[in-house]
C-alpha cells in the first residue's frame, strides 16, 4: 500500500507558509508582541532561501520539485490549467504593481533610536558631569543606612507622583493619563528593556536634559520629555531615580558587576 505523500512542490510552498503562520500565531496572538514588518521580511527571506537550498540539494529532488511546473507547459493534457495560469498570473502581478504604485495616505515611518549612546560628558545644573564615572550619590545608603535610604526613596516617590506620573503612569508602566496623546509614547519602566538595561548616570542624563538634550538619531524634536533641570534639583533627580528602581524591583547596571 502506498502511503499518501504531499507533492514536493506543495511541500515547498507549505513550509514557508506554515513557518510564517506559526510565527505570527506565537508572537502576535499568543504573546501579544507584534513583530515589526521589517524584521518579519528579513526573517522570511532567510526561511525562503533555506527552504530553496534544502529542496534543491540533490538533482533528483530538484527534478521532482520542478516537474509539475515543467509539465504545465510540456504535457498537452494540462493545456487547460496552463491557459488559466497564463491569464491569472499576469493579472495578479499587474494588480499587485497597481496597488504598490497607488499613493497611500499612510504617514511616513519615523525611525528613531530609543536608547541612543550617551555622550561622555553632559552639562547640567551649570556643571559638567562625566557620565562614565558618575554615580548616584545616595545609592551607597542602600547598604550603609537602609533607613536613610528608605527616606530617600520616599522623597523620590513624591517627586515622581508630582511630576512624572501624568505620562509615565502611577504604575510606572508608561500609561499615565496623558500617555495616549504623546508620540513617541512615554517610557515603560516596568519593561525589562528600559531602566533595567541602563546605568543610573544614563537616567540622570535623560532626566536632566530631557527631550531637547537627545542626539539627532533619537529625534529630539518629537520627544515630550521636559528638561527637568529647569524644575527639579540635582538631589530630587537622584531621588526619583532611586524610586524608579525601587518600585519596579529592577537593579541599575553598573561597572562593578560587568
Amino acid at each position: 500500500m502506498k502511503a499518501f505523500r504531499i507533492p514536493r512542490l506543495l511541500q515547498f510552498v507549505l513550509v514557508p507558509v506554515v513557518v510564517y503562520a506559526v510565527t505570527r500565531l506565537i508572537f502576535d496572538v499568543l504573546l501579544g508582541q507584534l513583530i515589526p514588518a521589517s524584521l518579519m521580511t528579513m526573517y522570511m527571506f532567510f526561511v525562503l532561501a533555506g527552504t530553496f537550498m534544502a529542496f534543491t540539494f540533490t538533482e533528483d529532488g530538484t527534478r521532482e520539485l520542478v516537474a509539475p511546473i515543467k509539465a504545465l507547459v510540456e504535457d498537452p493534457s494540462r493545456k487547460w490549467l496552463r491557459n488559466v495560469v497564463f491569464v491569472v498570473l499576469p493579472l495578479a502581478l499587474g494588480f499587485y504593481t497597481y496597488q504598490l504604485r497607488t499613493p497611500k495616505p499612510e504617514a511616513p515611518l519615523e525611525l528613531r533610536s530609543i536608547h541612543p549612546a550617551p555622550p561622555s560628558t553632559v552639562k547640567a545644573y551649570d556643571k559638567r558631569f562625566n557620565l562614565l564615572t558618575l554615580e548616584n550619590p545616595y545609592r551607597k545608603l542602600q547598604k550603609e543606612d537602609p533607613e536613610a535610604f528608605a527616606e530617600m526613596v520616599a522623597a523620590g516617590a513624591a517627586v515622581y507622583i508630582e511630576n512624572c506620573q501624568y505620562c509615565h503612569g502611577d504604575k510606572l508602566d508608561g500609561r499615565g493619563p496623558y500617555a495616549q496623546g504623546l508620540n513617541p509614547v512615554p517610557a515603560n519602566f516596568q519593561d525589562v528593556g528600559t531602566i533595567a538595561q541602563l546605568q543610573e548616570s544614563y537616567l540622570f542624563w535623560r532626566i536632566a536634559t530631557g527631550g531637547p538634550g537627545l542626539p539627532k538619531e533619537a529625534a529630539p524634536w518629537i520627544s515630550s520629555m521636559p528638561i527637568w533641570q529647569d524644575f527639579l534639583s540635582e538631589e530630587e533627580t537622584w531621588q526619583v531615580i532611586l524610586y524608579l528602581y525601587d518600585y519596579t524591583g529592577h537593579a541599575p547596571r553598573s561597572w562593578e558587576h560587568e
Binding site: 499587485y96 501624568y166 502611577d170 515630550s224
Partner: protein, 513 residues
C-alpha cells in the same frame, strides 16, 4: 397556579438580574495586608491618612478620592444608603476610573490583594462593620430601540430634568457653576464622550448613576420618591438608552489616525461652519494634553480632544476645527465671567506648521519650533465684548519666542461659531504665498507636519497654560493619476509575454530540454 408560576418566573428573573449586577463576589479581605499594599501603591496620590492629600493632589483633575468620607462615585446600593458594596470598591480598584489618573490595577494586584485593599479602605471611614442594607433595584432592563431612545430624549429634556446641567445636547455645557460637598468646583459629564465615563457606557452603569446619583456631587438620585424629577424604573432605562445614543460617532481618538487628509474640491471652499461641503472631509480627532513641559506648566485642563477637517481647491486650503468646550469665554461678558474661574481669558485655538516641509526626519521642536527651525502659528481667538473673534499669524522659534506678524492675519481668514458646547472654527489661507522664506508653501501629496494647541479661557488657560498635541501629519490628497494603472498593465503584459516565450521554448523539444 398561574400566580405561583408568575412568582417563580419573577424570582428567576431577579436572580439573573442580581447576578448580572454583581459580577464579582465579595470575599473577606485582610486589612493588614491591604495597608501594606496601600503604602506602596496608593499613598502617593491618596495620602498617608487616606484623605486624598498626596503630593499631587492639587495637580490632578479630578483630585484623588478622600477615603475618610466613605463616599464613592460608583455605587450600586440603594440611593438612600450611603455605603457602597464591597463589589463596588473592588471594581473601582480593578478597572480604575477612565478619564482620571486612577489606573486599573488588575495587571499588578491579584484579586485577593484587591479584596485586602477594599478591607483597608473601609477602615478610613469606619465602614468595616457596616453592611449596606438596600440594593439598587434594576427592575427589568429595557432593550434599546428607536422608541425607547425617543422616550429617553423626552424625559431628558422634560422640565430640564437632565439638560439643566448636561446641556441641550448632553455636552455638559449648561451654564451653571457646580460644586461638590467640599465646595470644590466640579463639571457635569460631557455625555457625548463615553470614554470619559468613570464607570462605563454600558446602559446598566448609566442606569445605576441615574438611579443612585453620584455621592458627594450635585448629580442627584432620580429614584428618590421625594424628588420632583423622579423617574420610574422603566423611564430610567429609557434615559440610559438615550444617553448611550448620544455618543459622538466618528469623533473619538483612534491611535491609527495620524493623518489629516485635505480633500480636493471643485469650486469655492465653504465659508460657513455648518456648510454640508465640510462633510466630504473625514474628520480626524486628536487628544489634547496639558502643557506640562515648559515653564509655566499647566496641569488642570478642561478640553480633551480636537477634531479636524480640511478642504482645498486650486487656490486655497481651509481647516474646520471642532472641539467641545463647556464654556464660551468672552472676557467682559457678565454671564461668561460669572461662570469662569478667574483669571479669565479668551477661548483660542492654534495650528502649527513648519515653515519648510522637512525632507528628512528632522522637524522643528513640537512646542512652537526652535531657533533653527521656525514654525508658522495660526492663532484664532474668540474675542471679547470689545473685539470680535480674530485670527493672527505668528512666527514661532520656541515656546518663549512667538512673534505676531506686522500685518496681523498674515493672509489668514476665519469664520467661527459656538453652539451647545461646541466651537467650530475655520481658518483659510492661499496654498502658496510670495514669501516662501517665512510662509509654509502647501504642496499636494507631501506629508506636512501639523500640530495643535487649545485654550479654554474660562479655565484660566492663558499663554503657556494651554493644551497641546504632538506632531501629526497633513496630506493634501493628490489628484488621481494614471501612472499606477499604466504600471500595472505594463507588468501584466511583460509577465504574459515571458510566459508565452517560455511555453514556446518548451514546445520545441531539443531546444528547451
Amino acid at each position: 397556579m398561574r400566580g405561583v408560576a408568575m412568582k417563580l418566573i419573577l424570582a428567576a428573573a431577579l436572580v439573573v438580574v442580581c447576578g448580572l449586577a454583581a459580577p464579582v463576589q465579595a470575599k473577606p479581605g485582610n486589612a493588614e495586608n491591604g495597608e501594606k499594599i496601600y503604602e506602596k501603591r496608593c499613598l502617593g496620590c491618596h495620602g498617608e491618612e487616606g484623605d486624598g492629600l498626596g503630593p499631587a493632589a492639587e495637580y490632578l483633575i479630578p483630585p484623588p478620592r478622600d477615603f475618610t468620607l466613605g463616599l464613592y462615585k460608583i455605587k450600586t446600593t440603594a440611593f438612600d444608603d450611603d455605603i457602597p458594596n464591597d463589589d463596588d470598591l473592588f471594581r473601582m480598584i480593578r478597572d480604575g476610573m477612565p478619564g482620571t489618573a486612577m489606573p486599573g490595577w488588575s495587571d499588578m494586584l491579584s484579586e485577593q490583594e484587591i479584596w485586602d485593599l477594599v478591607a483597608h479602605l473601609k477602615i478610613y471611614a469606619g465602614l468595616e462593620e457596616e453592611t449596606p442594607s438596600k440594593q439598587l433595584d434594576y427592575g427589568s432592563q429595557v432593550a434599546t430601540s428607536e422608541d425607547s431612545v425617543e422616550k429617553g430624549r423626552k424625559l431628558f429634556h422634560d422640565g430640564d430634568r437632565c439638560s439643566e446641567c448636561h446641556g441641550a445636547e448632553g455636552k455638559g455645557d449648561a451654564i451653571k457653576k457646580l460644586k461638590n460637598d467640599n465646595g470644590d468646583r466640579t463639571w457635569p459629564r460631557n455625555l457625548t464622550k463615553p470614554w470619559t465615563y468613570r464607570a462605563s457606557s454600558d446602559p446598566k452603569d448609566i442606569y445605576a448613576r441615574i438611579s443612585v446619583g453620584i455621592p458627594n456631587t450635585q448629580m442627584p438620585s432620580f429614584a428618590d420618591p421625594k424628588s420632583k424629577k423622579k423617574l420610574s424604573v422603566e423611564e430610567r432605562w429609557h434615559i440610559a438608552n438615550y444617553v448611550v445614543a448620544l455618543t459622538k460617532k466618528g469623533l473619538e481618538v483612534r491611535p491609527e489616525n495620524t493623518v489629516v487628509k485635505a480633500k480636493r474640491i471643485d469650486g469655492e471652499i465653504p465659508a460657513a461652519i455648518d456648510d454640508q461641503a465640510w462633510l466630504q472631509s473625514e474628520p480626524v480627532t486628536f487628544m489634547l494634553v496639558p502643557q506640562i513641559i515648559a515653564k509655566d506648566r499647566f496641569f488642570t485642563p478642561a478640553n480633551d480632544t480636537i477634531s479636524v477637517r480640511a478642504l482645498y481647491n486650486e487656490r486655497d486650503i481651509a481647516f474646520l476645527l471642532e472641539w467641545d468646550d463647556r464654556t464660551k469665554s468672552i472676557p467682559g461678558d457678565a454671564k461668561a465671567e460669572s461662570i469662569a474661574d478667574p483669571e479669565m481669558g479668551q477661548d483660542a485655538v492654534m495650528m502649527q506648521f513648519p515653515v519648510t516641509i522637512p525632507l528628512g526626519a528632522e522637524k522643528p521642536y513640537f512646542l512652537k519650533g526652535d531657533a533653527g527651525h521656525p514654525v508658522n502659528l495660526w492663532h484664532w481667538t474668540s474675542g471679547t465684548t470689545e473685539a470680535e473673534a480674530a485670527v493672527a499669524m505668528l512666527d514661532g522659534l520656541g515656546m518663549a519666542q512667538q512673534t505676531p506678524r506686522e500685518d496681523g492675519g498674515g493672509g489668514l481668514t476665519t469664520g467661527s461659531g459656538y453652539q451647545d458646547g461646541t466651537w467650530r472654527v475655520i481658518m483659510k489661507r492661499s496654498l502658496t504665498t510670495d514669501d516662501a522664506e517665512n510662509d509654509l508653501q502647501f504642496e499636494e501629496g507631501r506629508f506636512i507636519p501639523i500640530a495643535f494647541a487649545n485654550w479654554d479661557g474660562s479655565n484660566s488657560e492663558i499663554d503657556s497654560r494651554q493644551t497641546i498635541t504632538t506632531w501629526y501629519w497633513l496630506q493634501l490628497e493628490p489628484s488621481a493619476s494614471a501612472e499606477p494603472y499604466i504600471s500595472g498593465i505594463v507588468v501584466a503584459l511583460l509577465v504574459f509575454g515571458a510566459l508565452v516565450w517560455w511555453a514556446r521554448g518548451a514546445a520545441r523539444p531539443g531546444e528547451a530540454a
